[in-house]
């Protein structure tokens, strides 16, 4: 059953999934164009959100692949390909970045000369925060990600035919090199694209916050894919409840990790009560943003916490699917909560732009996944650890 490539790409369900994801993506893009005609700035902000969301899922997935290699994990080998497909969005991130890089002036207030003139504290940040170095940084960061993605997945795909154990070892070395680079680039990316929306504000834990959300979102997306495919008999091999248990455990752990980091950031700012720090928190604690903050705590932390706390819950496929969807939507809300107060400080906006954010984000990830899985096997058939992975028991 393990040997041979499973023709998932020609499966009826796969075709339907592919069509659905392309349709969602297309509708999202159309709505974004329509919204651009009405409120150009608003639609650009929604594109920033889509960029941040897709990047977080893609990069989080690559992080999990690297973690699997670094820890020589066995149980997750059968699912690794799913995460590689999710990381497949990385080369396409430039499509989302380009329209933004040409419109930095509409999005980032630090590009305005008048703003810098009236905020003397900004002068010291100018060598870092200017349009040219910002663009160069973004392109270099994306290039580094694409490089690691391409090298790691190429080795993994090559193993499907050659069955060489050496390729695994090469990927372990690549992962070791990737980890520190991942930490630095992800932090810079979060600072550039999310924190600099309010350029006078800073939080030293911000990169970790984005990482917590990214790793959790990638794990939830991967779990959603794995469990849905497996329960519908579309996965080439049969995964057991023990695999589900581990996926659920990681979701539970990283949901807690996110809450821990989010609270650490909030409490230090709240307790220090310094004007330059609270300026970012205060809009999020007032008006309709306060409601968004509370909803975020509920669906990003409390619901997954209660929903996955027992051992049996982590093994229930239906529970895993619903919690994964809950977390993915909460992560989208988290990105919205990070980005949109810079656009509308008093009131949480909801219009076509936000709708296009959801459609583009999910459509993008699904479409790339569908496209990748069309040609390649859903499991790494050549990985020497695959058999042990399938026999895994907790």
């Amino acid at each position: 059953m393990i040997a041979g490539r499973h023709p998932w790409g020609s499966n009826q369900g796969a075709v339907a999934f592919r069509k659905m994801s392309y349709t969602v993506l297309m509708i999202g893009v159309l709505i974004n164009f329509f919204s651009y005609a009405i409120e150009p700035e608003h639609s650009l902000f929604s594109l920033v959100m889509s960029f941040a969301f897709v990047a977080s899922v893609g990069l989080g997935a690559l992080f999990w692949v690297a973690i699997e290699y670094l820890t020589s994990a066995v149980w997750s080998v059968a699912m690794r390909r799913v995460f590689e497909f999710l990381a497949g969005v990385i080369p396409f991130l430039i499509i989302l970045a380009l329209p933004l890089l040409f419109n930095l002036h509409e999005i980032f207030i630090w590009t305005h000369k008048s703003y810098i003139k009236h905020n003397s504290g900004m002068l010291i940040k100018l060598p870092y925060l200017n349009a040219i170095s910002f663009t160069i940084r973004t392109i270099v960061i994306l290039a580094v990600w694409v490089l690691f993605y391409e090298l790691m997945t190429r080795n993994s795909l090559l193993q499907d035919t050659t069955h060489e154990e050496d390729l695994t070892k090469r990927n372990i070395k690549l992962s070791a090199a990737f980890m520190p680079i991942f930490g630095v680039t992800l932090t810079l990316f979060a600072i550039d694209w999310l924190m600099s929306l309010s350029p006078s504000w800073y939080s030293t834990i911000f990169g970790v916050y984005y990482f917590a959300g990214a790793s959790l979102a990638a794990m939830a997306m991967g779990t959603l894919m794995v469990v849905t495919l497996n329960e519908n008999g579309l996965f080439p091999v049969k995964l057991s409840r023990d695999h589900y248990y581990n996926l659920g455990g990681l979701i539970f752990a990283f949901s807690n990790f996110w809450a821990y980091i989010a609270f650490s950031q909030f409490m230090l700012i709240w307790y220090g009560n310094l004007p330059e720090e609270t300026a970012w928190i205060i809009p999020r604690m007032n008006g309709s943003w306060a409601a968004i903050s509370v909803i975020l705590v509920f669906f990003h932390f409390l619901v997954p916490f209660v929903g996955l706390i027992t051992r049996s819950a982590k093994m229930k496929p239906q529970r895993l699917i619903s919690i994964s969807i809950c977390i993915l939507l909460a992560h989208a809300l988290d990105i919205y909560w990070l980005v949109m107060p810079a656009y509308s400080e008093k009131r949480a906006p909801f219009s076509l732009a936000e709708l296009s954010f959801l459609l583009i984000s999910f459509g993008f990830v699904f479409a790339v996944f569908a496209q990748k899985s069309k040609r390649n096997s859903l499991i790494p058939v050549g990985d020497p650890k695959l058999k042990k992975s399938l026999e895994f028991q907790i």
């Binding site: 609270f263 909030f266 409490m267 709240w270 307790y271 009560n273 706390i309 027992t310 051992r311 028991q393």
Partner: protein
């Protein structure tokens, strides 16, 4: 053998695969009261035993939540009911500040009571003996063999038949286990009165010896001759004086060296009438006055004596120093107010500002008053 009773039959196996197969066979045969002993966790055993989900998680949850409740109660009662203190301008019950301690107490309670719960629920504490303790069987299964023990209380148990059954599973050694009725389950030797008394005795003796020797040794000063002198220590009791105080009061009317008592205590009229500023307004005096005024007075009175406090309403604003009444008030009035404070609102600066500097401040106030009401002729 009269006072001994059969506990069960044990069987040893030499590989993890065999124990998994044996577990399934024992379950299939219908045995309920049995347990598996392995030197390390073997995959498939718990599933083979058809174990239900452990309830210990519930204990953790309940006591974890109890920790949460206790932490919230503690922070609420201490900091907003019993002894309300403003810390960092935060509300008395500042929830975000108390989340860390709440989290930590929940973890502490959850962890400690999980361990205690395990001891009580699964090991039957205070019961501290088990028939399998010290048997060869236990020695082997904690080292290099895998074992099953089918207990005699099982309704399907029958010495002969069960032994045969275990033999068919491929066991390398089958052995019955007996236990003494004196140590039958339910009679915990840990609650034995003699044992508890000796425990108490050992505790008292060891802590007493520690207190009497170690405590003294630890706090022994190396140069004892200088540290321990025959002298009266402050605030100690005296057996010599009638009033029992070791410390003596100074003779009535004593004046400390270098300190002149204020002559007009509680007598503002006298101060206004008789006191004269002894300083002349030189540049140094004005500079001294400006420095002291800005340091001590300006937080409430404002840099120019307008009464525009910088404390943002946390303290009542004083009146302006430029009113007609105050411009006409004598220097003695100002000196008296600085020395004694004013109407329970302005505190006394007697201890902070030396007399000479008080007079310098008064010169500076005069200069401020003059500057506010400058005439054209003042311009040089």
């Amino acid at each position: 053998m009269n006072d001994e009773k059969l506990y069960g039959l044990t069987a040893l196996f030499d590989s993890p695969d065999k124990i998994v197969l044996a577990t399934r066979a024992v379950v299939k045969e219908g045995y309920k009261a049995f347990d598996i002993y392995t030197p390390y966790p073997v995959h498939g055993v718990d599933r083979g035993m058809r174990l239900k989900q452990s309830r210990i998680g519930l204990v953790t949850l309940i006591f974890g939540l109890m920790g949460v409740a206790l932490a919230l109660l503690l922070t609420w009662w201490t900091n907003s009911v019993n002894y309300p203190l403003i810390i960092g301008g935060k509300p008395f019950w500042a929830l975000p500040a108390y989340i860390p301690v709440t989290f930590e107490l929940s973890v502490l309670f959850g962890a400690v009571f999980t361990i205690l719960g395990l001891l009580v629920i699964f090991f039957g504490f205070p019961q501290n003996v088990h028939p399998l303790h010290g048997t060869d069987f236990m020695k082997r299964v904690s080292s290099d063999r895998f074992g099953i023990c089918i207990e005699a209380v099982d309704p399907k148990f029958d010495s002969k038949r069960t032994a045969d059954f275990l033999q068919t599973l491929g066991s390398e050694k089958i052995e019955p286990i007996y236990y003494s009725l004196l140590e039958s389950p339910g009679v915990g030797t840990i609650l034995n009165r003699k044992f508890l008394l000796s425990l108490l005795f050992v505790a008292a003796v060891s802590s007493g010896l520690t207190y009497l020797t170690l405590n003294k040794l630890l706090f022994l000063h190396p140069w004892i001759s200088l540290a321990e002198q025959i002298k009266v220590l402050p605030e100690s009791r005296s057996t010599f004086y009638v009033d029992g105080f070791a410390m003596r009061q100074p003779v009535q009317g004593t004046v400390a060296r270098g300190h002149m008592p204020y002559a007009f205590v509680g007598n503002m009229k006298g101060a206004e009438k008789f006191m004269i500023n002894p300083l002349t307004p030189t540049k140094q005096v004005m500079e001294l006055g400006r420095r002291d005024f800005n340091a001590y007075c300006s937080p409430c009175h404002g840099y120019f004596g307008d009464g525009d406090s910088r404390l943002q309403g946390q303290f009542p604003n004083p009146p302006s120093l430029h009113s007609d009444a105050l411009r006409q008030a004598s220097d003695g009035h100002f000196f008296h107010v600085i020395t004694e404070g004013f109407r329970n609102v302005m505190p006394s600066y007697d201890q902070q500002i030396p007399e000479e500097e008080r007079w310098a401040i008064i010169w500076y106030i005069r200069a401020l008053q003059r500057a506010k009401h400058a005439k054209e002729t003042d311009v040089p």
